[in-house]
Amino acid sequence: MMYTDKVMDHFQNPRNVGTIPDADGVGQVGNPVCGDMMTFYIKVKDNRLVDVKFQTFGCGAAIAVSSMVSEMALGKTLEGALQITNMSVAEELGGLPKNKLHCSNLGADALHAAIEDFRAKKEGRAAKPAPGAHEHEEECSCPYCDGPLDEHKGVCKSCQVELAECPHCGQITNARGEKCIHCGAEISPS
């Protein structure tokens, strides 16, 4: 099985699924191009998350990550909840397959976006845009290590390979390589 028992448990019995109609903050990240989209709803009382709900469109890992994030965040102070990182979610789940790590990024990002939404409303300003909003499907995962790629295309953060779009087939390949790993076309190093 590609997923740990804990991932499968959260996938089969996700905690805190749903919406909060009168939420104090709502955060939405991801888009269906990459296959995952998450919405987090929070209720805040005395600087604490007294209710957290989520909805997720996505794979098994995305659903498990959302559930895990909601469980980790519930009852925490806002500052405490902002300490939840992609890494800590993946760790808590006993690990995720490499090519699914980007799902855990989305989970923490969606929660943080909900907190930002709450704070922005309170301070009467516009919320900062949520990170992790993938624009193009090519940017979803590194073809070398399957790690996540985001809009900062260029170097894979996970395996440090320098990446470029193959001018021939349009897929992401090694910028320093002589040939595209997908179509084999010659790549002139730029």
């Binding site: 499968m8 996938f11 089969q12 996700p14 699924v17 919406t19 939405q28 269906p32 191009v33 990459c34 296959g35 995952d36 989209m37 998450m38 919405t39 909805q55 997720t56 469109f57 996505g58 794979c59 098994g60 995305a62 659903i63 090519n99 499907e137 090519e138 979803c140 995962s141 073809p143 399957d146 021939h168 087939c169 897929q171 997908h182 179509c183 084999g184 076309a185 010659e186």
Partner: protein
């Protein structure tokens, strides 16, 4: 728990008769078919017999059948072998947008050797319009490759019509029949094709055993250079057990074809009508009638393929998906996108392939357990919530 294997496109189980036909060649009949002694001759007999069986399945002569190691190899052999052998006549190749990667990437490889290509589009049912192929043909065109049927959406292409217009212009026509062969009747003479790929593992034969039909007189260069096996067109010691298995699978498919097709089609229609009737916002992908008899594929709105596959697996049902999350590269299927499906819908792709042991109870089991899975995942989906809000 009831189990139902509905992932024909990924693999079919070996027919017990095929296994039996293969067994002697792992131990007792171990000779090299190229050897002149009796050990070698026993192996030659097996290879010859298999060649006849495959020829009979396709209405081809045995000497027009070349054994290979996979459907991908057959496609590469056809595309590269025919293009390179006919290069002085021109350098243009025409394929469809929904071909298998082994065709599309073989074309990319040829482009690096000076060839150029045109991809013809498909309509929303996944059908190629022969008129589009005709439009794509130039004075430079030497080869057209359009699949017989697409495994992911089930659509059967008008291969005979396309072959006809190619023949009129003296252009070679290859068809990738890997999904179709053994599962629907194929006749290379009626189709009018110059080359056709098939693979044993798509019709209850072994993995690693496939073939390419090449019409007598058609020039094709070998992909693998070496000895004189396969008439010098495909070197390498023969995979005798695998070839014997392919031969037996072809023989069984040939004798049972009408029954196989009728049974599969009835079960397929039961699945399609059942699911479309039971669940809203489900789209059948591919053509409703011009369709592989054993294939049923859908896009389920508002939810994603992998989460459905995992849930179905827990209920004993094996299927597959063309969603981005189920592919290693996390890219949605090029077939669904070529048909004009939007990304969100393509993520909800689900492909069922029936096998010859599938019974009506398997489909009923699927129709029982699948709708609640869909409902549960939709209740979790922000896209479904958004849809309900907008509907109000």
């Amino acid at each position: 728990m009831r189990k139902a294997y509905l992932d024909h496109m990924a693999a079919t189980p070996l027919d017990p008769r095929v296994l039996e036909a293969m067994q002697p060649f792992f131990k007792d009949i171990f000779g090299n078919p190229q050897s002149l002694h009796s050990y070698g001759q026993a192996a030659v007999d097996a290879v010859d017999k298999a060649r006849e069986s495959v020829g009979r399945l396709l209405n081809a002569s045995p000497e027009e059948v070349y054994f290979t190691a996979s459907g991908s190899e057959s496609n590469n052999f056809a595309l590269k072998g025919m293009a390179l052998a006919n290069r002085e006549r021109g350098t243009h190749i025409v394929v469809s947008a929904i071909e298998h990667q082994s065709v599309l990437h073989a074309v990319k490889s040829l482009e690096r050797q000076g060839f150029h290509s045109t991809e013809v589009p498909v309509d929303k049912t996944g059908r190629v319009d022969p008129a589009d192929v005709d439009k794509a043909l130039t004075k430079e065109t030497i080869l057209v490759s359009i699949m017989t049927a697409n495994s992911e959406v089930g659509t059967v292409e008008p291969a005979a019509e396309i072959a006809k217009l190619c023949r009129a212009k003296k252009i070679l026509f290859h068809t990738d029949a890997v999904a179709a062969a053994g599962n629907m009747p194929l006749d290379v003479k009626a189709l009018g094709v110059d080359a056709l790929s098939l693979a044993a593992d798509q019709f209850y034969g072994p993995k690693g055993s496939a073939a390419l039909f090449v019409k007598k007189g058609v020039r094709v260069l070998p992909l693998i250079d070496g000895g004189i096996q396969e008439g010098g067109r495909r070197a390498g010691t023969e995979n005798v057990a695998g070839i014997a298995g392919l031969g037996k699978a072809a023989e069984i498919a040939g004798t049972q074809m009408d029954d196989r097709v009728a049974r599969m089609r009835a079960l397929r229609d039961h699945l399609i009508d059942g699911l479309l009737g039971k669940v809203e916002h489900v789209v059948l992908t591919g053509h409703r009638t011009e369709r592989l008899p054993h294939q049923a594929s859908f896009c389920i709105e508002f939810i994603e393929g992998e989460s459905m596959l995992l849930n179905l697996d827990m209920k004993g049902i094996a299927a597959s998906s063309g969603s981005a999350c189920t592919s290693r590269a996390l890219k949605a299927s090029h077939v669904l996108l070529a048909m004009g499906l939007d990304h969100a819908l393509a993520q909800g792709s689900l492909v069922f392939g029936l096998i010859d042991t599938t019974v009506r109870e398997d489909i009923d089991h699927l129709l029982d357990v699948f709708p609640p899975i869909i409902q549960r995942l939709r209740e979790m989906s922000p896209l479904y919530t958004k849809y309900l809000q907008e509907k109000r």
